[in-house]
Symmetry: C2
Subunit: 264 residues, 2 copies
DNA sequence: TACCGCTTGTGAACGCGTGCACAAAGTCAG
DNA sequence: CTGACTTTGTGCACGCGTTCACAAGCGGTA
């Protein structure tokens, strides 16, 4: 039973000659080597990808402030990670720094954008125009970097046709048609739990390959579809766990706490 | 590093089988051993905690459908993980299953709730009543499991005093006072980026130890404060990365990998 | 009571990500 | 041109988390 696995689900059909050392041998530090860059993207760890997005935001802010170059030390501090990790992350996408100097801000932004695929626009469809969906549709943060919300859907007949955030709401039955027409590549599910799976199926049917799911449901999707979920309840419960753990530690050690290790 | 942590040597001496551990020594699989349960919580991997929250939701749904027991196989399928991982996760919190039978639903719910600290209520404060904050304040999902939103804040004078989702909005200057009064244990930041750090500082000042941050900013907090961030832009960019990777794979393998809409 | 099949719990191996420490490589001053 | 200083890029080791595989344990059955 292949449920949904964001894991190493054999990508594509075959990649037989790729025993790859997982590490990059950096065959050629040549710039503008597109095929190599593409190849390299496959080796970027998932966790690093998320951090690259953060670096990108920080870099953009720095650029606006007129910064031309940054050292790994500065950038890592601003991004909240240690410098070694930052350099390692950047090394996954190539060698664009200058030893003794640092990285050129514009170059780094350009390269990260390329790796993240931000050079093309990704149409986003939001399904479920409730409180959250409404917020997402109006969210100014989405378009911030090339993610135009180009379609909205809901089941409620009263909402259909009403413009939200400048876009008319369609009925979810039109998901396949509208998404295909507008070449939606990312679907956002903000519906109540019971409707999530159905909506998901329609998005998949429409050819959407990436889904961002806000509904507290485990979606079943084909292997070729990527799902990321944002579960507020889970986040709160994880925090709750920490609150409890802290309280216990305090009670147990009388407030004494040694970084990481606790005497028992 | 001075601390080398007696990996296994510790108790050694006359223990032939050598439990090895450092992980769980599980001295006594006795139930109702509260101190031991508390101690154990500290050993639960972060990733497992998040999954436990998911299991909890699935279990609740099963309970409502009248299920009395579940096997690791059933539960794992419903939660979207493999059964081995599920059993390992559950083993972190104790041994509450019956071999040859499975787990009793009610018992498991109870134990997970205890470990996650859901036996006590956690007051939540939402700061920033914009689109997102508004949605969060009205969000019916929060209280779902003991997370009452008990305070709202914003800078906008026009919003102060206005009730949103049944609760009056306070000015952010009142964060310290109100949060202390209402014993807020979790703060949710849904403000624009520039205001996030300031708001965060006030929450910390008010004694809030856990923060859920929706603002695309890296918050600086004292060590004793736990922060979890939900960054929509990052999520989208990670998905974008996958879209790009897929397209590349398709191009590389000759356009195989199809679903109807693969560009080249 | 003895056997059999089923499911849990976990020891152990594996793999990935993280952090350290250093060589390589470039800049700048004299 | 040389030497000293700075910062990158990465080999390597460590530790955590995931996965496998199986012994232990329990219920049902003869």
């Amino acid at each position: 039973m292949a449920a949904q696995r964001g894991q190493r689900g054999g990508v594509g059909g075959d990649t037989p000659p790729a025993p790859t050392a997982a590490e990059i041998t950096t065959p050629i530090p040549r710039v503008a080597d597109v095929p190599a860059a593409r190849e390299r993207a496959r080796a970027v760890p998932e966790a690093a990808v998320a951090r690259l997005a953060v670096y990108l935001r920080v870099l953009s802010a720095m650029q606006e402030q007129g910064a031309v170059t940054v050292s790994s030390e500065e950038l890592s501090a601003a991004a909240g990670v240690n410098s070694a990790k930052l350099r390692k992350d950047l090394s996954y996408i190539g060698s664009y720094g200058t030893r003794g100097v640092g990285y050129e801000v514009t170059v780094l932004i350009e390269e990260i954008e390329r790796i993240l695929g931000l050079t093309r626009k990704h149409s986003v469809a939001v399904v479920g125009i409730g409180n959250l969906g409404h917020a997402l549709a109006n969210y100014g943060g989405f378009p911030g970097r090339g993610f135009p919300v180009s379609a909205l859907f809901d089941v409620d007949p009263d909402l259909v046709g009403v413009p939200v955030g400048g876009i008319a709401v369609h009925h979810i039955d039109d998901i396949p048609r509208v998404c295909s027409e507008r070449e939606v590549s990312i679907g956002v599910i903000a519906t109540p739990p019971p409707a999530a799976q159905t909506v998901c199926d329609r998005l998949v049917e429409a050819g959407v390959q990436c889904i961002l799911n806000f509904a507290p449901v485990v979606l079943q999707v084909p292997d070729h579809v990527e799902v990321r979920k944002v579960d507020l309840a889970v986040e709160l419960q994880v925090l709750s766990f920490h609150v409890a753990r802290r309280a216990d530690d305090a009670a147990a050690t009388g407030g004494r706490q040694v970084n990481g290790m606790v005497v028992s």
